[in-house]
């Protein structure tokens, strides 16, 4: 029996090695063979090879990703806003007063310019009216229901198909190399948790984002968590490293973002005592996606771009670096 066991171990070793050798495929097929792609692969190889000076133990392989504009598109406006506007329309018959109250009146008329005029105050009212006042289960169900029929206004594709194929490949490449991948987004955490686990292969507990205050109470005799109309955390800019510290308690070694809202997260990551990697996505492809940076309010990118050069971050030039943007 002992002989058989040894034989078996030897054979499994041989076979595994052969399988590995024969399947050494390109982990990032939608990336062009530019310096960015080479840097990513070199980084992953160096930090996961046991006898490398840059080796990082598995428990410290923390990778954090922004979502809007980094993993999926964010134009013409953050997709979560389309969800919010749709919810307002659905709830309108319970709120006859909205017909004359701004910003709701503009929403119901489909007048986006009117909504814009109501400014940040109006936006907060729309978010609170659409995202709070229900249980966490009810909210989750409303996001899932919306996703089934909602379509992007330009591409007419489901929003969950507006994810970037090269970034999906990067996520999976890191996951296969035992990096624990997190989303650290300014988007609503419970909005993302309704679809992102399936789309990105990232479990709910690795999705961090903005949140509203909540309350534990009995509703119809059952323990329930209700969503309250008050911001708890606005997970943007300097809040991102604070959220990472609170939730994970470890400094990331890999981070990706696309706007000034990600600057502190990328900076924090680059201050790791391990070899670390900061990836800044620059939207440069007006034909296949959108081209924008410092003149855009959505995904505003101004301070982070010069800092990337100074601080040795890797910048993705979408037009040059990505063979394909969205999946087919």
């Amino acid at each position: 029996m002992k002989f058989l066991r040894i034989l078996s171990v030897v054979m499994v070793t041989v076979i595994s090695h052969q399988v590995f050798a024969s399947t050494e495929v390109d982990p990032l097929p939608s990336w062009n063979d530019t310096a960015t792609k080479k840097s990513i692969i070199q980084y992953v190889q160096q930090t996961t090879t046991l006898d490398s000076k840059q080796f990082i133990p598995v428990s410290d392989r923390i990778a954090t990703f922004d979502n809007d504009g980094t993993l999926w598109a964010e134009k013409p406006v953050y997709f979560q806003l389309y969800f919010a506007l749709e919810q307002i329309k659905e709830k309108a018959n319970q709120h006859p007063e909205w017909k004359t109250q701004e910003p709701f009146a503009s929403v119901l008329k489909g007048d986006l310019e009117g909504v814009k005029k109501s400014g940040m105050d109006g936006l907060v009212k729309i978010v609170m009216a659409s995202h709070t006042g229900m249980s966490t289960e009810e909210f989750d169900a409303s996001v899932k229901a919306w996703l089934k029929t909602a379509r992007h206004p330009d591409s007419q594709r489901p929003f969950t198909e507006m994810v970037y194929q090269p970034m999906l490949e990067l996520l999976h490449y890191l996951q296969q190399n035992d990096f624990k991948t997190y989303i650290v987004s300014g988007g609503g955490v419970d909005f993302m948790r309704a679809w992102a686990p399936e789309v990105y292969g990232i479990p709910k507990e690795q999705i961090l984002g903005s949140s509203v205050k909540t309350e534990y109470k009995f509703v119809n005799g059952k323990p329930t968590i209700m969503r309250l109309p008050e911001v708890n955390v606005n997970n943007d800019k300097a809040q991102k490293p604070l959220t990472i510290q609170t939730y994970i308690g470890k400094k990331p070694v890999f981070a990706a973002g696309n706007s000034d809202g990600d600057l502190e997260m990328l900076q924090w990551t680059k201050s790791s005592s391990y070899s670390s990697f900061a990836l800044l996505i620059h939207h440069t492809d007006e034909k296949r996606e959108w081209a924008y940076d410092k003149n855009s309010s959505v995904g505003h990118l101004e301070k982070a771009l010069p800092l990337a050069k100074k601080d040795n971050w890797n910048v993705v030039d979408m037009k040059q670096d990505w063979k394909q943007i969205f999946s087919d």
Copy 2:
């Protein structure tokens, strides 16, 4: 080659099964063979057997544990308080005013009765003076340094040896069965993260607790997270299910606690749509540990005990159920 691969798979399967069969050891050797132990083992077997009606997919096997009084002792007072008092003594030479200011004057005289007289206000002052005003790295280092020399006042053992051997076995048993084990404690999250990963085998990102507000800033040219003297979250009672929802986004299927501070977490867990398990530790062993419940302020247990009977929770009677309390 194909034949060899198939043969190898078959052999590995046979051998694995043999190894498993020959190592079917008691997963909970420090538990007496009472109903509580049997219920735990039955629950784990039923929820992890693929063709069982109670089967739970791995991604939903969330288990949450209180810490003080559940995983380690909490008498005569929460161990974190000893750390706080010691820090006050260490920082006293930078604060000459403390010699005449309460509660610090009492701390410096070693007058615990005087400290008690300063009430909750005094306690908050002690916690803030000892836990804030430094970076997260500095705080982590101060906890680790304290643990090296600090001893429990009665047992004279290091505090990290005051953990319950039966609960260590339970944690490992659940981990081996692909339950993701979390700590959800009223204790300070960064205090626990300094030692609990090593002691319990639970990574930092699965440790949730009370926290102070933090600030991201540059100190000596380096990005730093500073701890501010303001409570962020007091992770007790109804806050526990809210923290679980915020951090994990899934309802636990297994929870363990020992006081009324854990009532809502246990109740929330029992409302799962999966088969779920609530474990309430009752401190009944005045010889080997301590015996206390409704008359104790530390680990106050009054409302949860009758609820446990009504709501079909499992109650650990430490005297009856545990063969051994602490590890040797």
